[in-house]
């Protein structure tokens, strides 16, 4: 599993400080969480796997579905396309991330602040939102190609077919590589490099033999994350009208042929297996080697000053990447204010009509999003805190399994979860005959499960920071366990929990893979779904862009807020200790 999951294995040692025997309350809590996880994660996923391996109608075990999958040209092509797109996205994202990481970690450079902004700017815009905007700039008849055609008489197929998916995904996901690689480079102690110099190594040989291998685990972690995210993504290819990839095929089979068609399930299994394999490969590459070598007072690699021409090159590289990264943001903003923007480098005229329309007739999308994402965030921190508490503060048998199950959601693509919910709960009917799977709360649960692994880590970290002696002091003064949690633990965790909530909220607000499967009526649709619907028609693009801008603002504001919360929490803790 991932490095995350492996770290969990070490927790019982740390957590052994808890109190003796499990109380009834703890057991009830653990059972409650277990039921939640089984109902909304294990059961739907198990259903998907079961359907993929059984014969339609009879329910007997069979591999014939997989045989059909491999034999069908469309699916074989979809598989290779998905693989190609993911691998290429890793390559292009690396091409963006490597120079940036190298510049920041090796040189004393004023532009480093810009690089830090570059490190999160793309992440605040969901890739499928950026896709539309990028098409306006880089599409066959986008601004860049129109100008190229005017000036030089040729066009570059940036956005044609699979190229477009690769392009959009690499711009969106390269920060994952940048962040991981920069951290790995930062963690290399200066003495590692100096020892090599002392023994006669220098220049590129030193980089190849010492610096690169030491940074490799960080790179692999980032690259495998990018691979998995791109492989699983449904919304970006759909918006770019690329249908012969795995996730879109799964979606199309289930929505057009029906939830009884086994192919959607087979594809789901392929998606899960690929995710797990990529994470496993990544953990294999980083196994046994904690390469963080920084010593106390050591400091990272030596940074040297850039020569003037090197500074010029560095700024040129950064400006180029910055322009690419900002292109979707600008494009979206322009589109949201444009009357008509087609076959011209810039819009013909500007208007606020799209925003009026969005806030008027489509405000339902925004309201739904706020409700769904808040509820999902809330569920996540409640479940996350409970699991973290059971793991760190009790000796309840099986508590680690709860953590492992919740973390396993990392390997489940959104579309798989969506299909699983449909299959598992469509047959379950309420008293008035409505299927359970068509209720909006199901969307909330899917969002919560998807974000749970991240929220769980945040809660875990928040609780780990609180010394057990603070709780023991409360118990010593007569507070029961429950009252101690309420009066001491929760208040001390607030900052970390708020940050975890905001992160869950922000990412849930722009989720589309699971949502696309689960939205049954327009009235229940969140913003990301509305955006998708708008973008289907040329007339809706302006309004879609306006919704996209709102989505970006929500995510950006949440990101800033969560940073502030973490920072404030850290500072207040530092003051007290």
């Amino acid at each position: 599993m991932s490095a995350l999951a492996r770290r969990i294995g070490a927790i019982p040692l740390l957590g052994s400080i808890g109190t003796g025997r499990a109380t009834a309350g703890q057991i009830a809590l653990a059972l409650g969480i277990l039921i939640f996880l089984v109902l909304f994660l294990v059961w739907p996923v198990a259903t998907v796997i079961w359907v993929a391996f059984t014969e339609k109608g009879t329910g007997t075990f069979t591999l014939v579905n997989f045989y059909d999958f491999a034999r069908t040209d469309l699916f074989a092509r979809a598989f290779w396309n998905s693989f190609y797109v993911s691998a290429m996205a890793v390559v292009i994202a690396s091409a963006f991330a490597l120079p940036l990481a190298y510049i920041t970690s090796r040189f004393a450079f004023r532009g480093a602040a810009i690089i830090q902004i570059l490190g999160f700017l793309p992440l605040i815009m969901p890739p499928f939102v950026g896709a539309v905007a990028l098409q306006l700039f880089f599409g066959r008849n986008g601004s860049v190609n129109l100008l190229l055609d005017d000036w030089f008489g040729f066009k570059v197929p940036f956005m044609d077919g699979l190229n477009g998916v690769v392009f959009v995904q690499s711009i969106h996901y390269f920060p994952f590589i940048l962040i991981n690689l920069s951290a790995a480079l930062r963690n290399i102690d200066r003495s590692m490099e100096e020892a090599a110099q002392n023994l006669g190594s220098s220049g590129f040989r030193l980089f190849r033999r010492i610096v690169f291998p030491l940074a490799l685990p960080g790179y692999v972690a980032g690259a495998s994350l990018v691979f998995v995210k791109v492989f699983d993504d449904l919304a970006t290819p759909l918006l770019l009208n690329v249908k012969d990839m795995l996730a879109p095929q799964a979606y199309l089979r289930v929505t057009s042929i029906g939830i009884t068609d086994p192919m959607g399930y087979v594809i789901s299994v392929v998606l899960i297996v690929t995710s797990v394999a990529a994470m496993w490969a990544s953990s294999l590459a980083t196994r046994n080697i904690d390469y963080a070598t920084v010593q106390r007072g050591g400091g990272g690699l030596v940074r040297r000053r850039l020569k003037p021409w090197e500074t010029a090159v560095a700024y040129a590289v950064i400006t180029f990447i910055l322009l690419l990264v900002l292109a979707p943001h600008f494009g979206l903003l322009l589109l949201s204010f444009a009357t008509i923007w087609s076959f011209s480098p810039l819009p013909d005229a500007y208007t606020t009509a799209h925003y009026i329309r969005v806030f008027g007739e489509s405000s339902l999308y925004i309201k739904n999003t706020l409700i769904y994402a808040s509820l999902a965030g809330l569920i996540d921190i409640v479940v996350g805190t409970s699991i973290a508490y059971l793991v760190l503060r009790t000796k309840l048998p099986g508590r680690i399994s709860l953590d492992t199950i919740a973390t396993a959601a990392l390997a489940i693509p959104g579309i798989v979860l969506g299909i699983g919910y449909l299959r598992a709960y469509y047959g379950v009917q309420l008293w008035d005959g409505t299927p359970l799977a068509s209720l909006w709360i199901i969307i909330v649960l899917a969002l919560a499960i998807r974000r749970l692994p991240y929220a769980l880590r945040a809660c875990h970290a928040a609780l780990q920071q609180i010394s057990v002696s603070l709780e023991e002091a409360a118990e010593n003064l007569g507070a029961t366990k429950i009252r101690t949690v309420r009066r001491i633990v929760i208040p001390l965790m607030t900052g970390g929990l708020a940050a975890g909530f905001v992160t869950s909220f922000a990412t849930a607000a722009v989720e589309l893979s699971a949502t696309l499967m689960l939205v049954q009526s327009n009235a229940d649709a969140p913003l990301s779904y509305g955006l998708y619907v708008f973008m289907q028609s040329p007339a809706g693009r302006g309004a879609g862009a306006a919704l996209g801008v709102i989505a970006v603002v929500i995510v950006a504001a949440s990101t800033v807020l969560s940073q502030l919360l973490v920072e404030r929490d850290r500072r207040s803790k530092a003051r007290h200790s």
Binding site: D189, S191, M192, E194, A195, A196, Q197, N198, L199, G200, S201, S202, R205, R209, I210, P213, L214, L216, N288, I289, D290, Y291, T293, Q295, G298
Partner: protein, 366 residues
């Protein structure tokens, strides 16, 4: 003179090292101020001083990791001060050992030889010899993380001697080891150095470490060399107040010398009087310096020449000795007395007289 383990595989030569008027700065801050040192061939030489005194910077300047803005570093007659680190052949054992975690022990040791493009067979032989020399011949396939701290240090040493360095630099080699291991390792280090016969520079802030394993010591403070000498010389004849107080504990009285009918007398600013030996050279504005162990507690209540009266303020049990803090007027003194089983020690509040051996007093300028 080749070591039986090293045989002819690794050939080391003892050369001299000359630091010639070296200065260095970080921005406006002078970290090395006109340093001059001569280290003899094969000598085990220590740079000793508190943190921030410039000793590590000097070591890094020798290795080429810090730049001197003036001066020369001459190794065996060759000026190396303009060479980049990788051309200097100056072996350094880092404080953190700096073993690369992605390479095995043997690959770590082979690294410098590979950089020198040696034939594969030579590399293999030298790696084996270097590891045998430090007693880790069996652990070549291990990862550094699978070794203990002491073993890691020996790998770092093997990695360094494999390249046949001209001199050996050791940066705080014992600081990452626990107290018990430290004593054992410092003996090993001394014996390994003797077998290697390499000119070796050790940086440390621990005087005991420098005293026990080094032939000579340079005491550094504020970017300058305060004094160079054998450990005993430095202890016995400190050149200045810094050296006196940095090496061991010293009582320091400030005051001046006045001539009386019966000879010269030192009058401390605290009002204590002490006769000055006729042959003693006392500079103007003198400081009287003496060590706690050069005093003795006299029980008889006979105030005389060289006897100071006061009372005990505190007592520390140091094992074989007892250290008393004594207040005489408004002067505080340290006085050591041997701890003898069965003899009742003095207790705080007891009145006491202290005599100071005239010959053990050192006079320093103010």
């Amino acid at each position: 003179m080749a070591d039986p383990v090293l045989k002819s595989d690794i050939q080391l030569k003892a050369v001299d090292l000359r630091i010639d008027d070296v200065s260095a700065s970080y921005g406006d801050h002078r970290v090395l101020n006109h340093i001059n040192l001569d280290v003899r061939p094969g000598e085990f030489f220590a740079l000793l001083g508190p943190s921030g005194c410039g000793k590590t910077t000097l070591l890094r300047t020798i290795a080429g990791f810090a730049q001197a803005e003036a001066g020369r570093i001459v190794v065996g007659g060759n000026d190396i001060s303009r060479l980049p680190p990788w051309k200097r052949d100056v072996g350094m054992v880092f404080q953190s050992y700096a073993l690369w975690p992605h390479l095995t022990v043997a690959r770590n040791v082979a690294f410098g030889l590979e950089e020198r493009r040696l034939p594969r067979a030579d590399i293999a032989r030298r790696v084996r010899t270097a590891l045998d020399f430090v007693g880790l011949g069996q652990l070549g396939d291990r990862r550094p993380s699978e070794l203990s701290g002491g073993q890691q240090q020996r790998v770092a040493l093997a990695r360094t001697i494999a390249i046949e360095p001209k001199i050996l630099l050791l940066d705080e080699p014992l600081s990452n080891l626990d107290a018990k291991l430290r004593i054992q390792v410092r003996r090993e280090l001394r014996s390994l150095q003797q077998r290697l016969g390499l000119t070796t520079i050790l940086v440390t802030h621990d005087q005991e470490e420098a005293n026990t394993i080094c032939d000579r010591v340079a005491v550094m403070s504020a970017g300058e060399v305060q004094q160079v000498g054998t450990p005993a010389e430095l202890y016995e004849a400190p050149a200045n107040l810094f050296v006196a107080q940095f090496l061991g504990t010293a009582n320091v009285l400030e005051g001046s010398v006045v001539s009386t009918g019966s000879g010269r007398v030192f009058e401390s600013s605290g009002g204590l009087r002490f006769p000055v030996a006729a042959e003693a050279q006392v500079p103007d504005g003198a400081r009287m310096v003496f060590r706690p162990q050069d005093t003795s507690i006299v029980t008889s209540d006979t105030p005389g020449a060289g006897v100071i009266s006061g009372k005990i303020v505190y007592r520390e049990f140091l094992g074989s000795t007892l250290r008393y803090g004594i207040q005489a007027g408004n002067t505080d003194l340290y006085v050591d007395a041997p701890f003898k089983t069965g003899v009742r020690p003095l207790t705080p509040g007891d009145p006491v007289s202290v005599s100071i051996a005239e010959t053990s007093v050192k006079w320093l300028p103010a």
